[in-house]
Amino acid sequence: MQGLATDNAPSPGVVVPHFIFASISFIVVVVLMLLSATSFTGFFFEPHLLAITHTAVLGWGTMIIFGALYQLIPVIFETALYSERLAKATFWTFGAGVVMMVYTFWNNEFSTLLVYSASLTFIALMMFLFNIVASTRRATKKTFLSHFITTATYWLGLTAFLALLIALNYKFSFFSQSHLLYLKMHAHMGMAGWFLLLVMGAAATLIPMFLVSHQMNENKLKFAFYFVNAGLLLLELDWLFLHGTVMIPVWGLLIAAGIVFFISYVAESYKKRLRRNLDVGMKHTMIAVLAMLLPVILGLTASVSGLNFKPEILWKIIMLYGFSIIFFFITSIILGQTYKTIPFIIWLVKYKSFVGKTKTPLPKDLYSEKIADIQLYFYIASIPVFIAGIIAGSEIIFETGAVLLLITAVLYNINVFKIVFHKSRIENENT
């Protein structure tokens, strides 16, 4: 059978560990949040905040994206992954790098351990980059969507490279400007270059597929791609060579325009959908897409220097800006898309050989829909509480949000482990 995405699907042993590592990281993130609520309500940049951010963006976000991407590459590029062994080696190197880096930040070991943990993570990310680029090189089908994936991967490489320089600078002090400028560059490369482009590319494939929408206007995606990349490139160059000019909000507007084109694409898919009822996975996804507007507004507001905010107000805007990207946009899309990927992966392993011969469960029968629904409600409830906690600078409100998110994380983990360790019901009947 030619042309089927599953012909090239990676073995589950490559994909599944990423989901396990990421799910546990999600719980760790929220526990660290509870232990250090002052990091979010205070007014300065401190090591615990870096530990929490990197657990979230690397251990949770990036780790799960790696797993999902190994599964998605055959779908988007119609080719198998270049090397499964390299993917497995990347998993262990990256996992070790992330654990070490979070330990480094949490315990304030910048001058001693940071170079090593950053180097280890950098090596892992380069291994990933090589695997993706080598896979796309031999792709039989190149659609516009593949540009999102490859470009996002290059931005990830740049993000990691700058991170390595920042880490080395702690030891050898060679930057001409404040390290905060480079941190800003690093953060935006990671957020807009890696996460935003990657999520856009993946979601533009998956959302119309799961909603069964056809005859989509693909031009919107092209505009989204070019606007985000142009805006981000100009933003980074402005910071690097001119150290931040009055044009920063303009570059921000370009990125915002790209996001608006993407949201409009999703809205079109939603309108044209054949599948009327949204399941929990798609509800989470839609929340994530809507949540993209919040950091757009906050980021643009913070970038206009003429607004002359008091430092503590500006800090709150920036805090909410970063928080909403990681915990509203990235987290919600992951929570949703997990339910659209991992049940299918495990279902294919357990039941593919039984289809048609005997009655098999559906992929959605592998997890508890009730738990997923409750998880969604707790997640939704946490959003306004977090916003209120950050705006009011209240630890207790913020911690309430963290408790709601912790319940979300635990429920999510229950379902992920239920899926991963699902025992075939057919085998059970036979034995």
Partner: protein, 106 residues
Amino acid sequence: MKTPEEIKSIESQIWNILKFVIDPEVEVNIVDMGLIYKVEYDGEKTVNIEMTLSTPACPIGDAIVLNVQEAIKSKFPDFEVDVNLVFDPPWSPDMVSEEGKVLLGL
């Protein structure tokens, strides 16, 4: 060799069998989704099915194809089932039957 009437009757039985093959994502059977383009029985032992998927990227495409083969073989164990997967013409929502639209909640 079967008579044209017998061939027609077996082909219509196969259409009915395929109504039990469900696309797990949308939870609608593949006949009402409009995924089956052609069912041809040669009057001997071969059945040719021409079908499509709602998207070529469908991650469970081969499970659906397998399901088609097995479903037919469960009723006609001696038959050889050839499934020809085509993407031209591409599937479009217009191909969903009236019953399918009801099942999809349209």
